[in-house]
Amino acid sequence: MNTEKNSKTDSFLVLISTILVLLLAAVPALEILVRIFFNTGVKASYAITRYIVLWIAFTGSYLATAGNNHLSIEAGRKYLPSKFKPSVYAVSKIIVISVLTAFLTASISFIFIVFDANEKTGIINTRFLTAVIPVCLAGMIVRESKEIFNRNNTLSGKSRLLVLFISIAAGLFLSISSVTNFMYIQLENPPGFMDLLFDKSVDILTVLKLPVILIMIISGALGTPIFIVLGGITYILLSVSGGYTEIAVNEIYAVLTGNMIPAIPLFTITGFILSESSAGERMIDFFKKAFGWFPGGIIIAVVLISAFFTTFTGASGVTILALGGILFMILDKYGVDTKFRTGILTSSGSIGLLFPPSLPIILYGIIANLDIKNLFIAGILPGSLLVFSLSAAGIVYTKKHNIKSEKFELFEILKSIKNTFWELLLPLIILVSYFSGLTTIVETGAVAVVYVLIIETFVYKDLNFSKLLTVVKKSVPVIGGILIILGMSKALSFYMIDEMIPQRLSEWIAARITSRIVFLILLNIILLLTGCLMDIFSAIIVVVPLLVPLGEIYNIHPVHMGIIFLANLELGYLTPPVGLNLFLASYRFEQPLEDVYMSIIPFFIIMLIAVFIITFVPQISLIFLS
């Protein structure tokens, strides 16, 4: 009976998500029309879009919990001797439920402290709009708790109750900080024992900090979802460094309501619609005939397409989510094995940042006070070097595996274009509308969704409402899973910024390191870690102001510094264990995270060499500058 009720809730949420997804595409699309025809905008469209994303993220995250779709490392558990399984399972459950409970209380306190009771967004109460956060977190706690009592798991009757009890108790213990803060804001005279309770809880956590974080990391290696491990560690670090743990929820809220974020769900949905229809079959024919006539041709085409797409989506990982599915399929049909496909698509999903008009370059120019044109000129050769390295890997692979080339026949190419004409038009539409200045990046995503919905429904008749529900059911948990990881890692970044760790590191370097070469090597390592831990926009805002003076000390050309910075970050997104693109790839290609780690190794080495060349041969960046 329970499962039936669960699946009813899930179907209902899929329906809600579908409506939200359609709205998310419709609002910016309408905005474009209204702008073109009436020179105005849709009322509150910006605010509406940001809350739709928040809703999609949290319903998606709930659905990911329901479908056991949250990203995690599964391999460790497989090799675990069976006598350890129950205790590992129990510890993992306790971590998951207590962390979710801590975030639940923090989110309630966050909403009450930050938003006034009467505050409105458009015509809707803001507290109501943000209530989706605690509601979905509560739902996730209920699902996780029910799962303890599932017949199939390894725990016995009594220990199940014990695990649930410890989970909730630990969750409430972690919540003391938020509850105290909440009382101080809401009550005229908060009870005095709250202060004492808060101080005691901080004392206890300070002692337990290291072992608990260690247990969380081990538990993460044994299958506890990544977002819980990131969230739990961050939450504890925030608790012992001053409290006000609602800040963790604030960071999630800040990321999810960010200006560029709606592009992620929009391009992801576009990609899923294409890969769930027969577009892949139609397109592979075209790809084989158009690019298959020279060795590695299709792989090179795939690398170029990914790099190009990343150029204007700005490496928020959208490339893999949007194009990954369909390119994965195309490479499969071409005869490329899973490991190579995963590796090359994951790595080419983060190159392309160095070409105009990439937003990270523009942002770097603004923050470092450099001429943006010079940065664009400087990026061309280093960017091409990265693209070339991956393309070369493709050629070597095709030779080694004897993948035969097709004949070049213009007539056949034209015939294959005819079959998939409307789908091939999509990149053109995206490019023209974005580069002509007709649409912003988010609006471009909306155009893509609307266009694909129309052609797949009416031209190719591959899509109907129930198929759309399937697409949403598959993609929304992925979107939710990714966005919540993004939120948690933003919270971790905040902790580091708050503790001034980047500043301290840069002061340490300036004081200790004298050699330019040592500095550059250290810089590579630090930037790799940065790309691994921070999204690109936070990284630019936080790290660049520290980097510019360091560059002066070690006599590095400021433009070259910009190229070093971005090239390293590109590689950072591929760095195990927490490079963002690895997570995205695991989701999109439905490969276990550990397999993605393995697949990336050769490409990581190739790109590492390229990045070293870019770092140590400044001429590559500076040759075209006057």
Binding site: G41, V114, N250, L359, T440, F494, I497, V542
Partner: protein, 305 residues
């Protein structure tokens, strides 16, 4: 912990640093200050949330940002409401107690206000008359619906863009101009793409240094008078300092091709007319009518003098 979006090394940031070291000196080291500049702890909306939550204690905010504490605090930054420094100073002095009260009602103690500069139009083609501006596409901040609506009602073609899209919007040709202070225009390098600056002061941007009332309560009362006095003194010098830097920035931008377009007497008349029609709209949409009539009263009082 003080948060600000002003970049490290900027005029705002160095002034905050100066104030911070005064606080430490006055309190004999009891108050230690950490400054988080350049938006590293979020945009102004985010900084305000962080202060409400308690993790940050203070902030240096602009009149753009304090809108999310209360819309009324933006009142004097309404485009073309006050015309020049003298008018601004006169009205601000009268209205400051009201602003302070608004801040305090929301849990923020204002430590001092400062004028920071005037926003001007930066465009790709030469603009003199309002009609010229109505022909081109103008990028405006998309986070405030009311302001967007008002520009539209006056007859401007506006492209609501987020700040992060602003540069690429100008770069790609989605927008042909925007309004921004010359100081910020120089910092962002925007003038290269929009080389015409109309010599018309559209709106003043002012800033406030504020601390949460929870934090203020923890400060020893005996330090407070001196803290406020020194903060006020330093902030009062700020406008003079930033004007010098802004003028240097203008010189640099002009060397790179920026054209400052003088406003002719009959163009000025037309802009005045726009103001008459436009300000009413702004007021209806965004600030409380009682505050507006009060401001209007002071403006008229000043103009009669």
């Amino acid at each position: 912990k003080i948060g600000t979006v002003a970049p490290a090394g900027s005029a705002w940031e160095t002034t905050i640093k100066e104030i911070a070291s005064e606080w430490t000196r006055i309190s004999g080291g009891e108050i230690s200050v950490k400054i988080y500049s350049g938006g590293t702890v979020g945009d102004e909306e985010d900084i305000i949330r962080k202060i409400k939550l308690g993790r940050l204690n203070a902030a240096a905010l602009t009149s753009q940002g304090i809108k999310s504490i209360s819309n009324d605090l933006f009142a004097l930054s309404i485009p073309m409401l006050v015309k020049d420094d003298d008018e601004f100073n006169y009205v601000f002095e009268k209205i400051e107690p009201l602003f302070n009260k608004k801040m305090e009602e929301n849990g923020f103690v204002p430590l001092g206000w400062a004028m920071t500069g005037w926003v001007k139009w930066f465009t790709k083609s030469e603009v003199v008359y309002p009609d010229d501006l109505m022909q081109i596409k103008l990028a405006v901040d998309n986070s405030d619906d009311k302001v967007i609506k008002i520009w539209q009602s006056i007859g401007f073609k506006v492209i609501p863009l987020s700040l992060s899209d602003l540069m690429s919007g100008i770069y790609s040709g989605m927008a042909d101009g925007t309004y921004i202070t010359p100081y910020a225009a120089n910092a962002m390098g925007i003038a290269e793409y929009t080389p015409y600056m109309l010599d018309l002061q559209i709106a003043p941007v002012y800033g406030v240094l504020t601390i949460s009332d929870r934090t203020w309560k923890k400060v020893n009362d005996s330090y407070k008078p001196l803290l406020l006095k020194r903060t006020g003194e330093i902030l009062n010098q700020f406008y003079g300092k930033i004007t010098v830097i802004e003028n240097e920035g203008l010189k640099i931008m002009k060397q790179k091709g920026l054209v400052s377009v003088p406003i002719t007497p009959d163009a000025a008349k037309e802009w005045d007319k726009i103001v008459e029609d436009g300000v009413g709209l702004f007021v209806k949409e965004s600030i409380s009518p009682s505050l507006y009539s009060e401001i209007k009263k002071y403006i008229n009082e000043y103009r009669k003098k």
